[in-house]
């Protein structure tokens, strides 16, 4: 896509996402301008074992430690942090 450069972000996975993918922390190349639903789809494409989690449970992304609704447009810069957030269960 012209005008959208590719950058490298940190990718964190927790709980069921971490177990399914086998990854807790890595990096990923993503377009600097996209939306969170597309970002999650890119993560699932790279880690197909996440698909069962994402299909069955409301899984979202946190971008720079903020929970983001799926479909929200984001502008990312080099070194930003995205995290796969399965449904939380603290307390």
């Amino acid at each position: 896509m012209s005008g959208t450069k590719e950058i490298t972000v940190r990718l964190l996975m927790f709980a069921a996402a971490r177990e399914l993918s086998g990854v807790s922390e890595t990096t990923m190349k993503v377009p600097s301008s996209c939306d969170t639903e597309a970002l999650l789809a890119m993560v699932v494409k790279q880690y197909p074992k996440l698909s069962s989690l994402v299909e069955q449970l409301p899984t979202v992304l946190a971008v720079n430690k903020n929970m983001m609704p799926l479909g929200e447009k984001v502008v990312l810069k080099e070194g930003d942090e995205i995290a796969v957030i399965p449904p939380i269960s603290g307390g």
Partner: protein, 195 residues
């Protein structure tokens, strides 16, 4: 990791730690001469879930975001209950055996109503917003990652796919047809009943 902030006379303590939590130590951090109330909540590991024997719970956290969210909850509690002086929120990571605390919340205020209400608010908010995950380990069968109902209720609007699923589940085609039938029947009845 313990973070303590003092702003004027207000004290906020946020703890995320693999070590056992001490209710007494946390309550002491928010006990002040000016406060007549210290209200506390401890969430402890229960030995059963839906008839299954639970051996232990294991917790995992997105550390920095969890601490940030706990601090934000404390700030919101202060905004709702301006009399609150001390807020301590502590969550344990790793394995938490039965009867031990995974979460402790202590709030102090001059009088009891604010402290009691703010503690309830803090645990409700934590269950909805703080990125911590609990794995239930059973005596028999594979362990299971839990999902807080508080989060699921709030999360559906955040997930576009789940929002559309929730909307379609709320009014399945059969229900829509039934509603239309009732409305038409009511309209016909009213027309026929006119003198």
């Amino acid at each position: 990791m313990a973070v303590q902030n003092e702003s004027g006379n207000l004290v906020t303590v946020v703890v995320l730690s693999n070590e056992p939590l001490s209710l007494e130590a946390l309550a002491a951090k928010v006990t002040f001469p000016s406060c007549g109330a210290v209200a506390t909540f401890s969430g402890t590991t229960r030995d059963n879930f839906e008839g299954k024997a639970v051996v232990e719970l294991a917790y995992e956290a997105y550390d920095e975001m969890a601490e940030q969210e706990m601090r934000a909850i404390a700030a919101r509690a202060r905004a709702k209950w301006p009399g609150v002086k001390g807020v301590a929120m502590a969550h344990r990571k790793g394995v938490v055996p039965v009867c031990q605390a995974s979460v402790v919340i202590c709030v102090s205020s001059p009088h009891r109503q604010a402290a009691l209400e703010a503690v309830g608010f803090c645990i409700d908010e934590l269950k909805e917003r703080v990125p911590i995950w609990k794995k239930e380990v059973y005596a028999d069968g594979p362990p299971s990652w839990k999902q807080n109902a508080e989060y699921l209720r709030a999360a559906a609007p955040r997930c576009s796919r789940w929002r559309s699923l929730a909307a379609s589940a709320a009014t399945p085609p059969a229900a829509v047809a039934a509603i239309i039938a009732v409305v038409l029947a009511h309209a016909l009845f009213r027309r026929n009943a006119r003198p």
